[in-house]
Amino acid sequence: MSRYLNNILLALVWAALTGSFTLANFVLGLLLGRLALYLVREQLETRQGTYRGGKIVSLAVLFIKELVLSGWRVATLVTSPKMQIRPGIFAYPLSVDRDFEITLLANLITLTPGTLSVDVSEDRTTLFIHAIDCSDVEKNIREIRYGFERKIEEAFR
Amino acid sequence: MEAVFSLLVALFFGVGIYLILSRHVIRIVLGIAIFGNAVNLLIFTSGRIMRETAPIIPGNLDLLPGPAANPLPQALILTAIVISFSFFAFILVLAYRAYQEIGVDDTIGMRISEPRDDALPPMGY
């Protein structure tokens, strides 16, 4: 991700935190963001990517929908008198390959219903996911592939 | 309300002291942490208790709108918390190093500076 974009994002966060979108405050946010980024300069990904605003929003909407659903499902699951669960860890073959994308995907998966990213393989081709319902692995893989992963590819390629 | 807090303080002190007395270095360290909390609650209570209203003047006023919690004990506790945290960290690392250097986790075994087999002083002249 671009360093400048990061900096601007941080300045926006600063403005949001302080609740003041004045120019002076924004400049201060830029300066502080610059300083913060300087401290982690070595670890920031330098590869340039593209950003599609609309797709990002669409990804966010999908995520919020999934999140609420996820919460609901788990809530009903644990409050049901007989918990019928078939958990397990399955391997998910990744098609995204950038660290940022893998991370984003893994996090989104963790936050969504019944799935939890446990590990990424060393060669970054496989994501190991714990699912609360592991009876149909193919279905799980399919849902991710055509859900989050595609949205991510659309948004950041 | 002070009564409940007094009771709580008593409990915190009791548990902290019981742990401090229990020979195991780690239990002692845990006891010190609880003891520190007991002291903080003690200071808090001794400044009298007031529910919910923080001593912070709202942005649109020049003075507190009404009675608020006593700010001074809070400031004192803040100082005390920071200090006791520093000491807690130090004692913890010290216990760790003691385990490394002396090899025991029990105060009964900690007898390097004052050895068990101290000899009588020389009797001659």
Binding site: - | G36, L42, G47, I83, L94, M110, S113, Y125
Partner: protein, 519 residues
């Protein structure tokens, strides 16, 4: 009490301060700034000792000027942040605090000078000098502050700094000693804080002058006896009074000798100072009620201390116990509470700061000359160095309270105060302690100095050979005031009497803190 109308600033804020008033805070600020700077320059090993010594010299000058000023004009007060007391934190130097600060800083300066030979590169890199400076910040702050919670803070400052000094070296014995020292001292300061919390709950104020004034009004309703007893316990622990003296013999012999010298000189005396401040100044009535308890504590502290000293083979451990017996002697004055007794305690504390530091530095010199710390192995020092022997003799005499050392006069004052007050047992214990101390130190002299060297061949290879001047200079600089105090003690005694008078009659102190007429 000051008006709460924000418009009437005159009633809320103090006026401008004269630049001379800065003397009261200068030692602490210098020490903190110096410590911080030394920490930043931690890796510039070469200049640390000189820089620290220079700062200590500056602090000593400030303290000396402060003492002179306090002696001529009475207590000097500065309330921080221009708030009026008791709302801001007051620093209030009276004769007691200023004189203790002078002596303590002097001792620290000597220790800084002698650290040149005792502290290795690792010790410097891991902060010996910052620890030293921050410890002196704590010590000076404790002596000069006029606010009881602030006193607690300074206690913690020098306590944590003393931890740092204590563990510098990480030998098993150090770690073990530090664990005991650390946990027990932590408890002591926690008790101090607890007592202060109760005090605040009862008085609603933290300024010591304010408390002293208000105590009279609260007697009868507030649980002042219990609070005073808690202070006695907390500070008694800090002072290493029997039966809560455990931390001292467990730790004092483990660190580098400069550190031990610093500890032996300063730490317990701060406990004694706080006892005087709290019990004589704030709680005189409660002190009187507790006097019998304090008397027994004093006697047992003396006896257990000196018996502990007799029981030791390691001279450092022996000196640790002598610190304790000295504390017992100081507690005698607290038990008596009479002007003579209190001034005896004050003078004894000054003496003890000088002598106990000197003893530990001497232990270092003895090891360098005699190859050991153990009485079983030491010997032949007289043959090696007549000069060191002479200095040692003077220090021993002072420690035993014999002429021409500094210990004589405070001991005479305390014994006289005890006899005047009918404290026969106390007087007997004071004298018996002096006697047993002379046995203990006489044995050291006989075995380590007179007796022939006990070990054949080269001594311990870990002992660096150092120029003798480096050994002698700090020792001599401590011995000179010791002997001066022994031979011409008048000025010292007069200051001690002023200090004790200022404690017993708080009017001047209170007026200095509340010039307008008080709260």
């Amino acid at each position: 009490m000051a008006a709460t109308d924000p418009g009437a600033l005159g009633a809320v804020l103090s006026g401008p301060v004269a630049s001379g008033d800065w003397l009261v805070i200068a030692p602490v600020v210098i020490a903190i700034a110096a410590g911080a700077l030394l920490l930043m320059l931690r890796h510039h090993l070469r200049w640390q000792a000189a820089y620290a010594s220079g700062c200590l010299l500056l602090m000593l000058a400030a303290n000396a000027a402060l003492l002179v000023r306090v002696l001529s004009d009475g207590p000097l007060v500065m309330t921080m942040g221009r708030w009026l007391p008791p709302f801001g934190i007051s620093f209030a130097a009276d004769a007691l605090g200023a004189s203790f600060a002078v002596v303590a800083t002097f001792v620290a300066l000597i220790c800084a000078l002698s650290s040149a030979r005792d502290i290795d590169t690792t010790g410097r890199r891991y902060g010996f000098y910052p620890f030293l400076m921050l410890m002196m910040a704590g010590v000076n702050g404790a002596f000069l502050t006029g606010d009881i919670f602030n006193l607690y803070v300074w206690f913690e400052v020098f306590l944590i700094a003393s931890f740092g000094l204590l563990i510098l070296g990480s030998e098993p014995a150090q770690i073990d000693g530090a664990t005991k020292y650390g946990i027990l001292n932590l408890l002591a300061t926690a008790l101090f804080l607890i007592a202060t919390a109760y005090l605040y709950g009862a008085f609603g104020t933290l300024n010591m002058a304010d408390i002293a004034v208000k105590a009279a009004g609260l007697r009868g309703s507030a649980p002042l006896m219990t609070i005073a007893t808690l202070y006695l316990l907390a500070f008694g622990m800090k002072a290493a009074a029997f039966p809560v003296n455990f931390w001292l013999p467990a730790a004092y012999h483990t660190p580098r000798l400069v550190t031990a010298a610093l500890f032996g000189g300063l730490l317990t005396k701060i406990g004694v100072y706080a006892l005087l401040r709290s019990l004589v100044m704030i709680f005189p009535v409660e002190r009187a009620a507790l006097s019998e308890v304090i008397e027994w504590v004093a006697i047992l502290t003396m006896i257990c201390g000196v018996m502990g000293a007799l029981a030791q083979t390691d001279v450092r451990r022996m000196f640790g116990f002598l610190v304790i017996s000295g504390v017992g002697i100081m507690l005698a004055g607290l038990a008596l509470g009479s002007p003579l007794g209190v001034s005896g305690t004050i003078l004894y504390a000054v003496h003890s700061m000088l002598v106990m530091s000197a003893l530990y530095l001497l232990a270092g010199a003895m090891r360098e000359m005699g190859g050991s710390f153990l009485l079983t192995e030491l010997g032949g020092i007289y043959r090696k160095s007549t000069f060191l022997t002479a200095v040692a003799l003077l220090i021993f005499l002072a420690a035993a309270g014999l002429p021409p050392g500094s210990g004589l006069w405070p001991k005479v004052m305390l014994a006289k105060a005890a006899i005047d007050g009918g404290g026969w047992l106390l007087a007997g214990a004071i004298l018996a302690t002096g006697f047993m101390t002379s046995i203990a130190l006489g044995r050291v002299f006989v075995l380590a100095f007179w007796r022939d060297a006990q070990k054949a061949g080269p001594v311990d290879s870990t002992i660096k050979s150092v120029p003798r001047l480096a050994i002698y200079a700090p020792l001599v600089s401590l011995t000179i005031p010791i002997v001066v105090l022994g031979i011409i003690p008048e000025q010292f005694i007069r200051i001690a009497e002023l200090a004790s008078a200022g404690l017993i009659d708080v009017t001047a102190y209170v007026r200095a803190v509340f010039p307008a007429g008080g709260s």
